[in-house]
Symmetry: C2
Amino acid sequence: MEAQETIKKLQTKEFKKGTILLRPGEYSRYAFQVLNGCLKSYIVDKTGKEYIMQFAPEGWVISDMDSYVNKTPATLFIEAIEDTEVILMNEPFPSFFSDISSGNSLELIHKLTNNIIAANRRMALLLSSTAEERYLNFLDTYPVLAQRLPLKLIASYIGITPEYLSEIRNKMTKKPGPFIS
Amino acid sequence: MEAQETIKKLQTKEFKKGTILLRPGEYSRYAFQVLNGCLKSYIVDKTGKEYIMQFAPEGWVISDMDSYVNKTPATLFIEAIEDTEVILMNEPFPSFFSDISSGNSLELIHKLTNNIIAANRRMALLLSSTAEERYLNFLDTYPVLAQRLPLKLIASYIGITPEYLSEIRNKMTKKPGPFIS
DNA sequence: CGATTTTTTGAATCATATCAACGTACGTGG
DNA sequence: CCACGTACGTTGATATGATTCAAAAAATCG
């Protein structure tokens, strides 16, 4: 690496499907920017059930933000659900997102704001909607992921069991929605 | 108002308990910083049920962020649950939070980051916990609000009916937790 | 004090989970 | 290319957490 250079060295890495990149209790050294493939972050409750917090397909960034930013022990798992290539981002937050000194912190602020808005939408959905509504919303919001991910993972993301999602889906094919050619 | 002055004029206002400060469909011109009293933001589903998104007692800021930042129609109600005095903040986001040019955008970034972390905690709780666990978490996280707010509002915040929260509370007094003198 | 709002209680019901069993698809190694 | 093992999806029976509705009791407020 050249001295005096301000060019960031982008460290990339490949993970096989099923690889766990972060576990609860560890100190999260990286945020992961996905180049191709897909990661998920999730928590596991005392009974062993998984709840997916986020999917990160190509272009997305995923991390245990609390652990990463505040240097606290992680509470999330992060795991590859496909063979996945990532950029490891390990500069102190928020420098890797934007160069604060150069005034494009505005861009970061914009991203963070959008993240908050999205989180609030999901919270509202979890608070006020039935399983079926959450599933329909998922299809609507992430049509590509809906194609690509196994039902099981979608169920975990919307907070229901795979069995019940299977039932919902079954019901939907019988009593179909508006037909889109 | 003096020309050339950079001093922000703080516009304050008082609202009686029960006053609605923002309704869905309106364009949110303000974020509200609470000086004393308490506000809530909430959504109402098609059946008329309320789900509280946020409480804002003294010191907190509350808004329909999406509407306020992006100039879209609001989806939230904001309402005074006590007589409440607020600062009306109506400068373009994010200027009122911090003066970007003067380098304390870092402070704003910090606040936004904390907000995201908190939102993620609540999402995890909604996804993975029972009503009782969410109630205990609320007692733990907002002990002061737990004293101050009617049960009904707490129920709405944790996403259950008041009847069921009453039942939970009742059960808890019979089978008490660890005794704190 | 009366009027309104909040909390409690109980019974019936509903949405969703659990468990177990079976069917299907899929990927890998022979 | 087949066969097998493993993961995934479906189905049905039963259980449970939480809602609904109605009504009474308790608290709060003008």
